[in-house]
């Protein structure tokens, strides 16, 4: 039982594995294998067989597939040996000689013979001349079918130049600014306040402030929109938690995004208010913004991811979500409460800032008129 070469051992082993495999296991190659089975059955029928054992047919078709793979592999190897990447007829003939060396062919002992006159080729010529032509039983589409992927619009394609030098033009374009930016005149005023009173690095806070204000704006405006109030705010108060019918809501303005309204639980809000009044926690502005950072990031990404690992809630018009921002030390109330309880609760926006009362009041004064007008203004400039 000596084997003729490494290839045979591999084929034998793989045949063994194939025989032991269950029929129910579907492999990725099933389509090609089933086509090979049909072709092999046709060849055997032409040879004289009238019936097949199923396992015998499976084995022979597997051997045929491996034969094709082996010719391809050796052809590629001979091409690479010659320093080429594309194979030609001589590579195939050398591969066939390798495979045929087990059975033997005429002229195999002549090592330096020309490949064109190889015994394998002559045998194949003889076979083609003698055997009758048996076309395949079915018509096949080209496979595997490749899915065409649409390339994204690049900067080059749209004709514009990328906004910064470090961005290469072959990258896809950025999304429209209206989809993610919601600048309001509040931002400049707030930044002004921080600069004047607090000093220090404003740049880092500026971006967070803007997004923070966006967050508040969206949630407040969603609450102060007259139609939404009618549907949602009053009814929620009257009937408790009512599921809002998504088909009856008014359409969003251009660029608006639906954000679920957040109602902190009443019990928690009272406790927090008492705590914030009593405790003196030194708060730095940056740390306050940092605690809001997850909320800001969530607004940017469109979902909320709670700190204690609760599941994400997508911000697309769901009913009220109750959640708690921050840890136990400092509970920050989001400005959504302004929807229900007016603007007085603005004082708790920035946490327990006893030393910041002056600035807070100034912020309130500036924000009051803008919030009163927010109900009439649209969200987008």
């Amino acid at each position: 039982m000596s084997d003729g070469g490494g290839e045979n051992v591999k084929e034998g082993e793989n045949n063994l594995n194939h025989l032991h495999s269950k029929k129910s296991r579907s492999r990725a190659d099933d389509f090609g294998l089933s086509i090979a089975k049909v072709a092999v059955a046709q060849i055997c029928e032409a040879a004289g067989f009238q019936g097949f054992q199923r396992t015998a047919l499976d084995t022979l078709s597997d051997v045929a597939v491996r034969h094709i793979l082996e010719i391809g592999k050796t052809g590629n190897m001979f091409a690479n040996l010659a320093g080429r990447s594309q194979s030609n007829v001589f590579d195939i003939i050398q591969g066939l000689e390798d495979l045929g060396s087990i059975q033997g062919f005429s002229g195999a002992s002549d090592v330096h013979h020309c490949l064109l006159g190889s015994g394998t080729v002559r045998e194949m010529v003889r076979y083609v001349g003698e055997a009758e032509e048996i076309p395949f039983a079915y018509s096949l589409p080209g496979f595997p079918v490749l899915k065409e992927r649409e390339p994204g619009r690049t900067f080059e394609q749209t004709g514009g130049s990328p906004p910064a030098e470090h961005i290469p033009p072959w990258l896809p374009v950025f999304p429209d600014p209206e989809t993610y930016v919601n600048l309001h005149k509040i931002d400049e005023k707030m930044a002004q306040i921080w600069e004047d009173e607090v000093g220090g690095p404003v740049e880092k806070r500026r971006e967070l402030d803007k997004t923070f204000a966006n967050l508040q704006q969206r949630m407040a405006c969603n609450g102060t929109q007259p139609s939404v109030e009618v549907d949602f705010g009053n009814e929620a108060k009257e009937k408790g938690l009512v599921e809002r019918n998504p088909f009856l809501t008014p359409p969003l303005q251009h660029g608006e995004k639906e954000v679920s309204l957040v109602l902190p639980p009443a019990k928690l809000s009272d406790e927090v208010f008492l705590q914030s009044a009593n405790l003196e926690v030194p708060v730095s502005h940056i740390s306050a913004m940092e605690t809001f950072a997850p909320g800001i990031e969530a607004v940017k990404s469109g979902t909320f991811d709670f700190e204690d690992g609760r599941k994400k809630v997508p911000l697309n018009g769901r009913p009220n979500v109750r959640f708690k921002l921050g840890g136990g030390k400092r509970c920050l109330r989001v400005a959504i409460s302004s929807q229900n309880q007016g603007i007085d609760k603005n004082s708790t926006w920035f946490g327990n800032d006893d030393g910041m009362d002056d600035k807070k009041r100034r912020v309130e004064q500036i924000l009051k008129p803008s919030y009163e007008s927010a109900g009439t203004d649209s969200l987008v400039n």
Partner: protein, 146 residues
């Protein structure tokens, strides 16, 4: 090519070698051209798929046909050998039992014949004889008791 490099000292034989090469060349190109008329049983799409899978790159359709014909020839050889085995077994059976002549006319490809035929071509296939549901199945009752 290789032939000429090995026969440097024999200048007289170079001419027929060159001519022989030309003949071989012509024969091969004729053969490849004839392949386009002959449709192998193994479809081109299947062969192209598996050649691409193995890393074989060639845009020429004639080479794909060449590989298809080579594989078809291989399978046909194996099938012929298996058929001979099957017929030999049937004739042996008929020899023993002359009453039932040609009881089984159908020629069926079995694993046993196939494994013998493939062994001639270098493929070792081992097939399970039977599957038992317990280690003591089929044993004599005496040994089973022990």
């Amino acid at each position: 090519m290789n032939a000429t490099s090995q026969q440097q000292g024999q200048g007289q034989q170079q001419h027929p070698n060159i001519e022989g090469r030309h003949d071989d060349d012509a024969a091969l190109s004729e053969f490849l051209a004839s392949l386009m008329d002959y449709t192998p049983t193994i479809p081109d799409e299947l062969v192209e798929h598996y050649l691409a899978k193995s890393g074989f790159q060639c845009p020429d359709v004639r080479l794909v046909r060449l590989v298809a014909v080579a594989t078809q020839k291989f399978i046909a050889d194996v099938a012929t050998d298996a058929l001979q085995q099957c017929k030999a077994r049937q004739s042996a059976v008929i020899k023993d039992k002359r009453e039932k002549q040609q009881k089984d006319k159908r020629l069926i490809l079995t694993m046993e014949d196939l494994s013998r035929a493939l062994h001639e071509h270098g493929v070792n296939v081992k097939h399970q004889e039977y599957f038992a549901d317990s280690p003591s199945a089929g044993l004599d009752p005496v040994s089973r008791d022990e």
